[in-house]
Amino acid sequence: MSWLRRRELPLFLTAILGIMAFADYFFDIPVLHSAVSDLQVWIIILSAFAMFMGVINLTIVHGRVVMREKDVVRRALSAWTLFLMYLMAILGLLPPITGHPSYRWLYTTTIAALDPTVYSILAFFITSASYRAFRARNLETTIFLVAGIIVILYNAPIGGYIHPGIVTLGAWAMGVPITAGQRAIMVGAAIGALALAIRTFSGRESAWLKAGGGG
């Protein structure tokens, strides 16, 4: 069974399946359509299974901390994390399928409240960073600064209230120079993605085979 551990097998499968999916996107071949359609459904199932693997992984990681860690605080935090994870998972499985009232209550009073709170703290950092970082040091940064201010005011309803020209100028900035710049970035990224796909299909790119995504 040593051949199962060889890296050539996943590389070969990746190349074959990748080329099949690639070809299916560009060519109208009924047999290929049918095979790729099956593969896509398999991937949906595998993705769902990957979420289950995530639960097992978290259980192993936090379970190890609970069993072996000497620091009481770390042990308590890991135990609490595991307790909440399984509580949410069990409540989530209870009928009705759209959400048991206890699950919904827990979600609304914890995740729905905490997530946006953490996210909104960004506003304070962005405000402070914009004050410190946006400096007109030279011509390039001055252009960047002016464009940034126009787009900020264009995105805020007050922009048009301050001066109607801001809306016109903002719309022009969004529609012409920003679009042109973004197109260049997109085309560059697409060519890069194509090169990466060719490298992956040909087995030259194998970093994804290593655990932890290193390499």
């Binding site: 996107y25 359509h33 359609s37 896509q40 459904v41 991937i43 949906i44 993705s47 769902a48 990957a50 979420m51 399928i97 759209t98 959400g99 699950y103 919904r104 979600y107 609304t108 995740i111 729905a112 905490l114 997530d115 946006p116 953490v118 996210y119 909104s120 506003a123 304070f124 962005i126 405000t127 402070s128 914009s130 004050y131 410190r132 946006f134 400096r135 007109a136 040091r137 600064l145 940034g148 201010i149 787009v151 900020i152 005011l153 995105n155 805020a156 309803p157 007050i158 922009g159 048009g160 209230y161 809306v167 719309a171 969004m174 529609g175 920003i178 679009t179 973004q182 197109r183 997109m186």
Partner: protein, 284 residues
């Protein structure tokens, strides 16, 4: 002597002026600037931008009986940006004679947010519709772009049951909906590229997106190329949509706070630059 003293005094004043603002004052001011208009709205005018109007017009132009795939993948963290736009666009769709396929592809939190926050906001419109005939919900489907590709290719194969476990063959709405070609419009939450790749490019299905405000500049090429028929980016665009459908909600209430916070950031940038130039262009 007097000149020297005055010169020294002037220098000290400039030095004081260019001292950095304590971040704590900035945070406090931002808190006031965001909080005050929420308590007492200013009612600032809200010009409607082209991408928002384009989506509104697209939905208005849908022939009766058209089938729309609506992806409601709203997470708790992005609720302030995505929630109001999802509610506003769904209200518009439900006011028209169109069929809606609901699904969450972006996040597993979608169905919970739909059940706890979106559904109560549109309950009065859902009551007038029949489940399975006018709308159907497939809940969360894993796989993201691969799932999109599978749905576009063969909906019945990719989504064998709805969220309640009803086989797709028993759902009247899905009887004549087999592939992406049977969809009149796809409206999604989050990122637009996968939808363009899987629905617009191979099948020509128009795609619209409800996304974060920061994504708007990046998505302008898709709007310009016609690959996106409309875009509701962030809370400001959601407020515009609420104005268009004459149903002010969460986004309209936040729009003044958004205006003042943006203005506050611009003022800070200007102050920061004045300090930079007056302080002898020292890097801070």
């Amino acid at each position: 002597m007097v000149e020297r003293v005055l010169g020294l005094k002037l220098e000290v004043e400039v030095e004081n002026m260019v001292k950095e603002i304590d971040p704590r004052y900035m945070y406090l001011l931002l808190f006031i600037v965001v909080g005050a208009p929420l308590l007492r709205p200013l009612g600032l005018p809200l010009p409607i931008t082209a991408p928002v109007k384009a989506l509104y017009d697209k939905i208005e132009s849908l022939p009766p009986g058209s089938v729309v795939l609506f992806e409601y993948g709203v997470g708790a963290a992005s609720w302030p940006e995505h929630g109001p736009s999802n509610i506003a666009v769904l209200k518009h769709l439900l006011s028209k004679n169109v069929k809606i396929i609901l699904i969450s592809l972006y996040t597993a939190e979608g169905p919970t947010n739909f059940a706890t926050r979106i559904k109560p906001a549109i309950a009065h419109l859902l009551e007038k519709k029949t489940y399975g005939v006018d709308y159907v919900d497939f809940g969360y489907v894993t796989g993201y772009e691969t799932a999109m590709a599978a749905i576009a290719e063969n909906i019945h194969k990719a989504l064998p049951r709805d969220v309640y476990g009803t086989p797709i063959e028993q759902i009247p709405l899905m009887k004549n909906v087999k592939t992406a070609k049977d969809l009149a419009l796809v409206i999604a939450t989050g990122y637009c590229e996968p939808y363009i790749r899987q629905f617009y490019t191979p099948y020509g299905v128009p795609v619209a997106i409800m996304t974060w405000g920061m994504n708007a500049p990046g998505y302008m090429p898709y709007i310009a190329a016609g690959q996106l028929v409309g875009m509701v980016a962030g809370i400001r665009a959601a407020a515009e949509y609420e104005v268009l459908i004459a149903s002010p909600g969460e986004a309209c209430a936040s729009s003044d706070a958004l205006s003042l916070s943006h203005l506050f950031v611009v003022i800070l940038i200007v102050i920061g630059n004045l300090q930079y130039w007056l302080g002898g262009r020292r890097v801070r």
